[in-house]
Each structure stands twice: as structure tokens, then as C-alpha cells.
């Protein structure tokens, strides 16, 4: 049995420790907000937080998580998360929306570390998150907007 803490809830999963965290979350914990895009950490759709840091769950073995706290899009909360969601709403960032869980998790990670990011900071933090709909201009604007909202 693998023990995990996801969104503050302790879970025991009967899965192979080699299973990527992504599939444990989606298929076994039934939290489907975290998305599968590439399976190779090339697109960022599967981004979750491990102890507050963005990680690619498709390249993280569920057996390696240990006592770390996993947070997914369904469970992420707090001041930064609220500011990011408010900015996403205000600017209507989303199109198909499929990558946006990962974009939002990466953006929260960035703003938690760097409350006043420059465009270069945004490039560095967000370049790993692909949006095939091409919403990048609004994502950038929304991160700046959220940053202002955080004061």
C-alpha cells in the first residue's frame, strides 16, 4: 500500500510504486482536474504541488512521494491561489481549458516564490507549460494582474 496525502487528506492506495503520480491521482484517487498531456514532462498539463513546489506528476513515481503533501488544482487555496483565479476570471484566459490546471498550478508556484515577477521570470517559470490554444498573452497578463492584486 502506498500512503499519500493529497489536498490534506491521507490516502492509502493499492498501486505499484512505479506508477506515475499522475495516474494514481487520476485513476485511483479520482481527482481528474490534473491532466495528461504528454507523459514525458514536456507539456506541464500534469503539474501539481509537492510541498508547495510545482512538479510534473507524470514523471514522479508515486512511491517517491513519501510524506510529502500533494496539492492538486481541486485543493489549491490561499491568497495567491485566489488572486490567480481572480485574474484568470477577469481576463477570461481560458479557451479549451485543458492545460489551464497546470498553468494555474505553475503560476501559483511562481507567485508564491516571486510575488513581483518580471516578464523574464514568467518566461522561465511558465515555458514548460504548453497551451496549444495559444493563450500565453492572457496568461502573462493575468500573472501580472494577480501580482498587483497581491499588493
Amino acid at each position: 500500500m502506498i500512503k499519500l496525502t493529497i489536498n490534506g487528506t491521507a490516502r492509502e492506495l493499492d498501486v505499484d510504486p512505479d506508477m506515475p503520480l499522475l495516474w494514481a491521482i487520476r485513476d485511483h484517487v479520482q481527482l481528474t482536474g490534473t491532466k495528461f498531456g504528454c507523459g514525458q514532462a514536456l507539456c506541464g498539463a500534469c503539474t501539481v504541488h509537492l510541498d508547495g513546489q510545482p512538479i510534473r506528476s507524470c514523471q514522479t513515481r508515486v512511491g517517491d512521494v513519501g510524506g510529502g503533501e500533494i496539492t492538486t488544482i481541486e485543493g489549491v487555496s490561499g491568497r495567491v491561489a485566489e488572486a490567480v483565479r481572480a485574474a484568470w476570471r477577469e481576463l477570461d484566459v481560458v479557451q479549451c481549458g485543458y492545460c489551464q490546471s497546470g498553468q494555474i498550478m505553475s503560476a501559483i508556484g511562481l507567485l508564491s516564490q516571486t510575488p513581483k515577477p518580471t516578464d523574464a521570470d514568467i518566461d522561465a517559470a511558465m515555458d514548460g507549460n504548453i497551451c496549444r490554444c495559444g493563450t500565453y498573452q492572457r496568461i502573462r497578463a493575468a500573472i501580472h494582474d494577480a501580482s498587483r492584486g497581491l499588493g
Binding site: 481527482l31 482536474g33 498531456g37 514536456l42 479549451c96 518566461d123
Partner: protein, 730 residues
Amino acid sequence: MFAKPLDKAALAATSRRTFLKGAGALGGAFVLATQLPLTGKAFAAKPGDPPAPNAFVRITPDNTVTVLIKHIDMGQGVTTGLPTIVAEELDADWGQMRFAFAPANAEVYNNLFFGPVQGTGGSTSTANSWEQLRKAGAAMRSMLVAAAAETWRVPAAAITVEKGVVRHAASGRSATFGELAAKAATMPVPAEVKLKDPREFKLIGTRLPRLDTPDKITGRGTYALDVRRPGQLTAVVAHPPRFGGRVKGIDAGEAKKVPGVIDVVEIPTGVAVVAKDTWSAIRGREALRVTWDFSAAENRSSEAIMAEYKALAAKPGLKAAARGDVGKALAGAAKVLEAEFEFPYLAHAPMEPLNGVIEPTPGGATIWTGSQFQTIEQAVVGSILGLAPEKVAITSTYAGGSFGRRATPNADYLAEAATIARATGMKAPIHLVWTREDDMKAGRYRPMVYHKVRAGLDARGRLVGWEHVIVGKSILAGTPFEGMLVKDGIDATTVEGVADMPYAVPDFLATVHNTKEGVPVLWWRSVGHTHTGHAVETFMDELAHAAGKDAVAFRLDLLAHHPRHVGVLKLAAEKAGWGEALPKGRGRGIAVHESFSSYVAMVADVTVSGGKLKVDRIVAAVDCGLAINPDVVRAQVEGAVGFALSSVLRNRVTLKDGEVQETNFDGFEPTRMSEMPKVEVHILPSAEPPTGIGEPGVPCLAPAIGNAVFAATGKRLRSLPLDLASLSGT
């Protein structure tokens, strides 16, 4: 997708028979459907539903108004735009508007431009729904007013409606939609309704927040990949590594030992591994040993296929458009320019890989998917499962991007899901999942295309003749759509944008060779315009330069009868500061193109420095008729830039001895944040009926960038992706 909105009457007269024939070939009996007029009849959205007075609008006692969306949302914003149309005629408050995806039912929910088919594509969702939903909203409003008039015993004419409240000013009485809903549903449905004068519009043309945003920023929105049905199993398929390959032998021994793997079955498209979860299915596929028979496969490399195209281009093709005498005009020209353009196969690569769930139900089946052609999917899945199409229900989910990939004439991945469900005995819901590798390698691509163009200028630099040859595989031949869009052997989607080029050239000839190689192709956001727009607009730039004329002025001279092209061209040029001097290493290029009855011009600003290209800014002007929600229109054009940029810079799908070389987002890398230029979108005010905006933002990007590179460096890059290596030393 479709070159033009299909004319309903023409379809009814000529194409239905052909379509039915095609559908019959798929094995499905087809239900004839007609456009449903606004009659006094009550509608049930699907069998068993309580009758409702209107197929598109539901008002409930909780005071919400739900619009049934007959189209699929792939990000293009129909779940906001279509409710806006209803809310406007209904005089609803935006805060009470909701949406739900309509069930599959071509009798009620057909695309009015596609005839008897429910489907999304060709940037037609808004255009075909415009009148239909205005009437639906107006009818519902009239029934609410009638209900209030009867309840309050006052004349209907003395009642007003504003922001979801029905009022009788003289008596001071008022009621919400929710309070009147039950009674309104019993009122007769008006046979005729009066639509608003556009000058009275309060919601249309304003910025209203998207209704799908809350779902998509919380992880709550359900895509097909998120569907979890009781007892559901996951299937992945080992596809032949070359198109047309067949299974020769299977050793499933190791695969069946993988914990969680339940079954391994051979299907016509490969070998399916069925497991209790996705990871087990993927691991099972890795453990599978399959040998393939490539005797009937496409075994050539892209280069060999392109060489065949070039050889074909030297021979006479089929005439797609001809006027005057182009041979004579070119022979008499003072200057003749010639150019060739190569375009690669391109993957759509939507972020959500292709997938769908087929769930057995008593006497039928339910498909859970975000796909574009419900009617075809019902017919295909029904034929595989031995069910009449109407016994196949579809629950539509959000689609995680598509760009045309989820609109297939043979319902390819859902057919695969149905085949696996049947092969495993219809015991459990089957979730067929394509991984990213399947998406890249198992096909359906924008066709590879070759263009060869010659044009002449007279001594005064005027365009005197244009000869254009296009070679590429037909998207539509052999599909149910062949009768609609293939005429005299010419696939309209291969030549759209060239055959109907707007520039005034008296002597003009466009010919085409539609090839038949074994690589499966499909419409890719803006379809033929992805290559025709680039070839025409790049070559126009070359001609302007050769004529010693400004690129905008040269075009304007040839567009006297095309005011909407002129409108966007001038607006984009003005907003971009066309004509300003730029520092060394920077360049500015322009392009204009019509597609899907919308008009777009783009100005690209680029910097070429140290041999590297950076696209700094795109200024776009668009005329898509009346913009229902201008912010969604802007978002679609911004997104089209982000989507198409990587196809300008680097993307290609390459075959080596028949095998696709790109397997994931490393070999086929979409645009990333740091590459995204600043995009400005200017919408031309218009009172024309709304046309599409999902696709028209794509065609101008590549030629505007290529023309800007020429302005910056003097190097003319024609083929796509642009040969950036040739910029070294600039």
C-alpha cells in the same frame, strides 16, 4: 474546415442523397433530418425527456436560463457566444445564463449549414445558429410575456422585459423568469416572432465573461478523459508503425502478465490492451510483441512523396479556376516571377489526447466524448455495435482542443473504442485512450502540399497573369463529404484561397493534382487556407517588391471589388504604423486573406539578429461581421497566432521509410510562452451577419512573418516551416 458555409437548399437538393450513400457505406442506416422550423410543436431533446416548448432554451423555477449547445466547445467560446444570442432576444440578465451540451439528435440539433448532420466545424457555429437562436430566445420571451399577461389579466403589449424581470408598469407588478417558467411552458409557441432591431442590442457586442471559465480554473470541468463510469476499463492500442500496416503476429504473453491487464484483442487498426487503469494498459502495450505486415503499407519517406508531387506539378492538372489566356499574358509580360512552396504534414496535437468512452446500455450504447460530428459518430458506432444510430446516445464533454482533429469522416478513434467494446463482449464501459505518441504517429495530418506559381508584371509593374499549380492529397475523397465538396475530381479544400483569389488578374489559371498516398489526412485549423493563404500572400509580396511598389498599395490596386479585404488591410496597416522606418535587423510584413467568410489582415514585426528570428508583434484586423462577443473574437485571433506560430518556426511531421519520426512534444514542439509575440486585435465594426472566427486567424500569420523576414534580411523564405538555418550570417 468547409470552404464555405454549405447552402442548405443546395444540400437538400443534391447532397443529401450522396451523403446518405456515404453514410450507408459506413454501414449505418441514416435518419433523414430536416431543419426544424419554429412550429407550435413541443420538443423533447432526447427520447424520454419531458416535452419543452423550445429545443434550445430551458427556464427553470430557480430563475436560471439554460441554453442547449448543439455544438462542441473546443475552446472557441460557443458556450458563451451562443447563450449571448439567446439572452439578447430574451432580455435575460447575463448572471442567470447557463449552458448545457445538447444530446445527439440530428432532427433537432443539426448544423443548418451541414444539412442533416449535427456537427461543429468550418467556423460555422455562430453563423448557422444566429437566426435559429435569436428566434428561440424571442419565442421564449413572448411566452413569458403571454404567461404574465394571462396571470395579471393585462394586455401583453403593456408588458416590458428587462434583465430577466417581466414588468407591468401601470400596475407595478413584476415577476422573474423563474416565477413565470411553469406557466410560460404551457403557453402556445408563437409561429412568428419579431426579432430585435440590432440598434436595440444590449448584450451583443459587449464584453461578457465566459460561462466556461469557472469550470476550467478549478479542475471541475469534465473532458472525455475525465469520464469515470462504474466498472470502466481503459484500452490503449498498439497501432501499426506504418500507415496501412497489418498485424502479422502477436505475442501477448508478457503483456498479459502485467498486473491490471485484463485482455489483449486484435482489431482492424492494431492490437488493443484492455486494463483496469491507464498505467496498466500503457505498461501492457509496452510488453506486447507485435510483428507487422507492411506489404500494403505506405513505405515511402516524405521526401519521396514530395518528389512525386514535384514531378506531378510539371504535368497538366485539373482546372480549378481559369479565365483569360495565362500563357499569352506571361509570354507578353515584361517580368515573370516563379516560386515554389513546400508544406509538410502537420499534427493537430490538441492538448487532450484523443479518447472516448463507450458504455453499453440496455438496448443501446452511450458515447462519452468531445467530438465534432455527432451524427457520423452515431452512425459509425451504431454500425459496429449492430445498433440503429438513434440507439447510440452521446454525452458531449468539453474537448481539450481539436483544431479539426475531432471532426473525422469515419469517427476513427470512437470506431476503435466501439470495436474494442464489441471484441471484449460489451461487458463493461471501455475508455479508449490515445497517448501523445499515438496522436503524433497514428495520424490524420494536415496534408503535405506543393505549390508552384508563376506570375507576370508589365512594364509599369502591373500584375498581368497568374498560373498556380497545387499538388496534395484530397481530404474528402472517399468520405461521406465527397459529394458535397469534391467537384469534377477537385477537392475544394485543396484549392480554396487560390481558386477564389480576390486579386484582379485578368489572365488566371489554377490547376490541381489530388494525390492518393497512404497517409491519412484531415482538415487542420483553416484547412486549405493554411497553405494557399501563405503561397498567395508571400508571392504577392515578391511581386510588389519586383514591381517596386509598396506591399499595401500594390494589393489595394488589385482589390477594387473587395471592400472587406480593403477594410482589414487598411486597418491593420494603420494600427501597425505601416511605412515607418525600422532599425536594422527589424522587418515588417503584411498579409490579407479571406477564409470562412471572414476577413483578416496581419502585420508582423520581427527581429533577425545573430541568425535568430524573433517575432515581436502581430497586429491583426478582422471583419467577421457582427462580433457577438468581441473579447472572444480577440481571444480566438490571439490564440490562432500562438497555435500557428510553431508551424511557421519548426513543426513538421516527417516520414522515414513510412514511419513517423516525431513522437511527442519534443520532436513536434508547440509554441511556448517565451516565443509568444505581443498580439493586438482590431475588430472592424460591422452590421453584416456574424461569420466565423475559430479558423480565420491562422492563414495570414505565416506570410506576414515570412514577408517581415524578407524586409529585415532580404532573404525570401517560402516553404514552411521557414528555413531558419538559412538566416545564419544575417
